[in-house]
Symmetry: C2
Subunit: 399 residues, 2 copies
């Protein structure tokens, strides 16, 4: 019945890096893979057609934004997100939890990545109870409840191939007790999410939509290894999900993040694909693939493009095209890059577009950054396949 499957094709011996294939009703994903963010049902400044041309395998949209605008009912009427946004490949939606709690607690995203919290962010989380979270809509100010059952129903309507259990994204700046209680509640919410999902296995938002979905669990526990172990135990034994994501706070430094991810990934057995939430830096990706991560997502490739930054190989990893020094540079971003932007345009032209405030700048640079990330993931897969991981990593990062 299920058109979903996952298999590891090869695993390295000296570390946990692996290549595999995740199959969905909308096609296969070769892993390790990067998932691009079409947050509000649109890649920023970029068509799904061009994303496909740039070898994008899978994209995600955010339940939180879409439940507020245009509302999941309208997307259901289209037959789901795939039809709404003109994307025929694999898709994922998150549960909405991350944004509610991120905006609510202040800035979970900053904390996860060890940045200082930004007190200017408007707090919209009103209350958390066993039932769910009540928050204020940024569209019309209405007070809304998101619960595990409601998140699953919305994700059913959105109709992505992969959906995610509803959890609290616990902030970093709370004590161990808060983190523990939050994890326990997230586990209960996970169980309710799975129950809601299973009670409605053949749900179709609209005749003609596939109605076939699979669900990911989330491993909580913040920076505490004993709690991570408990959450792994819960996710492995108490609930049955297609895949697992490593969520929650990963600490306040890169070293801490690496330790927590490595600890968590190493304890997972090999029966489910593992997703790492919110990581997009190429150096991190090489590191975490080595630790056993299969998929990544982050807004960074498209966000960097909007700020004028082109992704490039090497330790620094990016160059800013707004810099005056590119004014007369007749080279492309990367002579060896095969993307449309690098095959057709010079740094001088791209710099001119930013200097002239032409929106085309964002589109062309997004094109390069998306191609770059997909090329990175392909290079990693080939390196694993050819037992050449360390060499290729060092070559890519110019180490």
């Amino acid at each position: 019945m299920s058109q979903f499957s996952w298999k590891i094709k090869k695993k390295l011996k000296n570390n946990n890096a692996r290549i595999g294939i995740i199959s969905t009703p909308h096609g296969d994903i070769e892993t390790p893979a990067f998932i691009f963010c079409a947050t509000k049902a649109a890649l920023k400044s970029f068509t799904t057609r061009d994303a496909k041309e740039n070898k994008t395998q899978i994209i995600l949209s955010n339940t939180y934004h879409l439940m507020l605008q245009p509302g999941s009912q309208i997307i259901a009427k289209h037959g789901g997100l795939h039809k709404f946004i003109g994307w025929n490949g694999p898709m994922l939606t998150d549960s909405g939890g991350f944004q509610i709690f991120s905006l609510g607690h202040g800035s979970v995203a900053d904390e996860i990545k060890g940045r200082k919290s930004n007190s200017n962010i408007k707090k919209t989380l009103l209350s958390i109870s066993e039932e769910g979270a009540i928050f204020k809509s940024y569209i019309d100010g209405a007070n809304l409840l998101l619960s595990p059952e409601k998140s699953i129903q919305i994700q059913r309507d959105l109709g992505a191939d992969f959906i995610v259990v509803f959890d609290e994204c616990t902030p970093f700046n709370v004590d161990k007790d808060y983190t523990y209680n939050s994890m326990q509640r997230s586990h209960r919410w996970s169980q309710r999410s799975i129950n809601a999902f299973n009670s409605n296995l053949n749900y179709k938002a609209k005749e003609g939509s596939s109605g076939t979905q699979e669900i990911y669990g989330i491993i909580q526990g913040g920076i505490y290894k004993d709690m991570r172990e408990e959450s792994i135990e819960f996710n492995q034994n108490n609930i049955n999900t297609f895949g697992v994501a490593i969520g929650g706070s990963l600490g306040s430094s890169k070293a801490e993040m690496q330790e927590i991810v490595n600890f968590t990934a190493s304890k997972l057995n090999n029966i489910r694909p593992v997703h790492l939430l919110g990581i997009g830096d190429p150096i991190d990706i090489w590191t975490f693939v080595e630790q056993g991560i299969d998929t990544f997502d982050c807004v960074s490739p498209t966000r960097l493009a909007r700020h004028g930054s082109a992704l490039v190989k090497g330790k620094h990893g990016k160059i800013n095209l707004k810099n005056k020094k590119y004014n007369e540079n007749l080279n492309p971003i990367d002579k060896n890059c095969l993307c449309y932007t690098c095959r057709n345009f010079t740094l001088s032209y791209l710099h001119h577009l930013f200097a002239s405030q032409e929106l085309l700048a964002l589109q062309l640079l997004t094109n390069h950054n998306i191609f770059f990330m997909n090329n990175l993931m392909e290079t990693i897969r080939i390196a694993i396949k050819e037992n050449n991981f360390e060499n290729k990593k060092n070559e890519w990062l110019n180490l």
Copy 2:
């Protein structure tokens, strides 16, 4: 030697509509044709690749903007505009005059189209003399001279297939004497432009660029028929250009504009293609094709898209996707339109993109509007070919 030619393939008997082919070193243009504006060496929110896919035949860039940013030298270093912007088809540059005088006099563009002048526009024209015009750069405030010789040199560096003589775009709100003196000076500037052009016929900005260009004259005379006749006489007999453009003020109403264009076009013989500057409204295009115009240009298709307006057939000619009534509309902009946007996206989705302030909205709507204009021009050409002009016009405009 010249790779340029123009021939009329067919002319209607009951009006002046005609189809023809303009050949250039970068390919043929089937006329009547619409020229899209890549003002600052970029179509707004749109790649030249997608423009080509949408059957765009020719685009133009503006000398005024490019001489200020990035400067024509940098474009020359690339081997010209074609290489700079990744467009391998025919191109045109204007002389820079329109913008200098438009910004300088206040708002010539508004006057040409009968709109009220906008006193907020910053006046940057400092002085006009026999030598040329001195204006203030909006980039760095420097005082710069643009003369016929300088305009031609810059247009040589830019390397478009078609370039235009330098003229004063005479405002509407001046008396007949001013208009007459301005026309006389523009004729002298035309002659100097042609001399500069001819003195340097084999100029190549860079080894490898084609170095082959042709030039358009401009017919002046404002709303005064006797002066239009004098300017036609000058353009036909005193100078030798590949084509002619109808420039200057066309009056303050649509009726006046139609009368002046009709009068002018009817006096031109059939040895040169005729361009009408700055007109993009589909109703106007049907009218002016009937009067003998071969090519049009206007920023309207891409500008309308940025304001949320989709071009549609019919007398009103556009719908605004920001309108809440499209919220749940599952139809495309036009069920019969074959563009990428109409084949893949609903009004509901496009409305959502505008409601969410996603830049993709501009790209998808620009796609439709460019396709729409090229489809309009193709429909007109077929109608002329098949002696079906009136029927097709009435059908298109729902008359």
